[in-house]
């Protein structure tokens, strides 16, 4: 919590253009007159920081939910096809219709959700439908399909690929509130679902039979969890591209640090951790070689992996 606040403060205060912290506070409290500094803070830094918080939290939660629902440490939004679908949706716009770039978030969101829906329709049908094995296999099939589509697009438009790279490696951009204005309901729905999933996922840990005995329906929980994760991850991809690291690693870090798999702990702390990591890494990415913006991935790794390895060495 403190770490998040510190990261947010740094994110607002630092950037390619130096603005003293006092002035930043004045601007945020509306005391400062309009001017480039006000514009920089209000139009560029503030929305970007908010996006970083939302995206980081969404990915942390999506990863935690999925790893819980599928009882698999390798589960991440990849597994239910979201990453593949969102990547395809984004490449479709970036490579095929760069003139409609404004549709990028929508396309990424829609294809992420479509891919997830395909995974669910296969994974939750049939006799063993809703079983972990079937969902995972369906995810593999659909993710491969969309990955192949993306590969085909990339191979067809090699000269435009540099423009697509930022989406594939993931990262935030400074473009005001426009994206958030479209996407925020998805974050809202996803986070609300996540809150209601905490207890059912805990029950699922004790096995499907025990969960059923406790009045939960394992298939329904798994489906809801997958849907919530799909919504959160698609919304995150729409805004920040494919930031794989958070969804996969943050829940593990949280589990190792907390020494517990309890979702009452893991889900909220993953949200906090994801938000902190993304805000901090994005601040570094914007400032380390300012005015050049670096991709956020390496900085997340720089901050996250040492902690992860240290925990791994100590706890396990």
């Amino acid at each position: 919590m403190v770490a998040l606040l510190a990261a947010v403060g740094a994110s607002l205060a630092l950037g390619a253009v130096k603005i003293p912290l006092g002035e930043v506070i004045d601007i945020l409290t509306g005391k400062d007159a309009p001017g480039p500094a006000t514009q920089i803070v209000e139009v560029l830094r503030l929305p970007r920081t908010v996006e970083a918080i939302l995206v980081g939290a969404a990915l942390g939660v999506a990863g935690a939910i999925l790893q819980g629902a599928l009882a698999n440490p390798l589960a991440s939004p990849d597994v239910i096809g979201v990453t593949g679908g969102a990547g395809f949706g984004a490449m479709l716009i970036i490579l095929l219709r760069p003139e409609d770039i404004g549709l990028l978030p929508v396309s990424a969101l829609v294809f992420g959700l479509v891919a997830a829906a395909m995974v669910f329709s296969i994974g939750f049908s049939g006799a063993s439908g809703g079983g972990v094995g079937r969902v995972i296999l369906a995810g593999i099939a659909i993710a491969s399909m969309f990955a192949a589509g993306t590969a085909a697009l990339i191979a067809a438009y090699p000269d435009r690929v540099p423009s697509g790279i930022f989406f594939l490696v993931g990262g935030l951009t400074s473009d005001g509130w426009t994206d958030l204005e479209i996407i925020w309901p998805y974050f809202a729905v996803g986070f609300v679902l996540a809150v209601f999933l905490v207890r059912p996922l805990d029950r699922l840990m004790l096995g499907d039979d025990v969960a059923a005995s406790l009045g939960s329906r394992p298939r329904a929980i798994r489906l809801t969890a997958a849907v919530a994760a799909a919504i959160l991850a698609s919304a995150a991809a729409a805004i920040a591209g494919l930031v794989a690291f958070i969804g996969l690693v943050i829940p593990h870090i949280v589990r190792l640090a907390g020494g517990t798999n309890n979702h009452t702990f893991v889900i909220p702390v993953s949200a906090l951790g994801g938000a902190t990591l993304l805000v901090a890494a994005d601040t570094l990415a914007r400032t380390v070689r300012a005015p050049i913006e670096m991709p956020v991935g390496p900085f997340m790794v720089l901050l996250g992996v040492p902690v992860f390895l240290w925990l791994l060495r100590r706890v396990v």
């Binding site: 760069p98 770039i101 090699p158 400074s174």
Partner: protein, 267 residues
């Protein structure tokens, strides 16, 4: 767009085409863009202009841009992702990165309108057309050319609808596969076709440094699939490390002249 007083206007040109066109029209942009490690193809008059480093996806750093506070930015589809942010900062974004010769003329006129030098713009276009006519006259030979993008065993071939492909055709070269087109302008051509069609000239555009040219030529020659071609046998393998084959500039005629002289032996 309203014609405006150029000198008093704040304009940033992200593409070399836009920057050079402005310079040729006698207008100084507030700042020009420069890609990371990219080749600067700017006219000498622009050497003192402020440089904004461009990085994906936004292009310029928007905080820096906000500080400069331009009214207009000449951008490129490559930096499309940044357009929204610029608009939010109250900046007008205009694409100025032509993909074919017709667009070069059109966009030159468009820039001249925006900067309020329409007459000079018309003169400039006329001059460009005349130079091009001169440089494309007297084509005697029509060698078969394979123009390849990138390094490694799996390079892309420029097709007829790519910028580089158009330059080769204007220079008198015949592209492999009769200049077939595909929506992206690039494709991998089967090595079997290369052997069968037997190009006379191979030109590589490898995204590498100038000092690496000999190494790149050596590598291309050593490709076992290509060593039976006339190009390799006659030692007509070239490498171009600037991006004149990739991105339109104001100096189309000069580039075509260079291609004819250096690569196609067509003058």
């Amino acid at each position: 767009a309203e014609p405006a007083q150029a000198k008093s206007q704040r304009i940033v040109a992200l593409t070399p085409f836009a920057a050079n066109t402005m310079a040729l029209l006698g207008v100084q942009p507030k700042a020009v863009g420069q890609t990371l490690g990219g080749d600067r193809r700017l006219l000498p008059v622009l050497s003192t202009t402020r440089v904004l480093p461009l990085s994906h996806p936004n292009g310029p750093n928007l905080e820096q841009l906000a500080q400069i506070g331009p009214k207009v930015v000449f951008s490129s589809p490559r930096w499309a992702k940044g357009s929204e942010g610029m608009r939010q900062l109250g900046i007008k974004v205009i694409q100025a990165d032509p993909k074919n010769l017709g667009a070069v003329y059109r966009q030159t006129r468009m820039i001249s309108r925006v900067v309020g030098r329409q007459k000079k713009g018309r003169q400039l276009v006329r001059r460009m057309r005349k130079q091009l006519r001169k440089k494309t006259a007297n084509i005697r030979r029509r060698p078969k050319v394979m123009l390849i993008l990138g390094v490694g065993r799996t390079p892309y071939t420029f097709l007829g609808n790519s910028w580089g492909g158009q330059l080769i055709k204007r220079s008198g070269g015949r592209l492999l596969t009769g200049g077939a087109t595909a929506s992206g302008g690039f494709a991998r051509i089967s090595d079997e076709t290369v052997i069968a069609e037997n190009p006379d000239v191979i030109i590589g555009v490898p995204h590498a440094n100038t000092e690496d040219i000999p190494a790149m030529v050596e590598y291309i020659k050593n490709n076992s699939a290509w060593d039976s071609t006339n190009a390799v046998k006659n030692d007509r393998v070239y490498v171009s490390t600037d991006n004149s084959m990739l991105q339109a500039g104001t100096d189309v005629a000069r580039v075509i002249g260079k291609i004819r002289k250096n690569y196609l032996n067509n003058r």
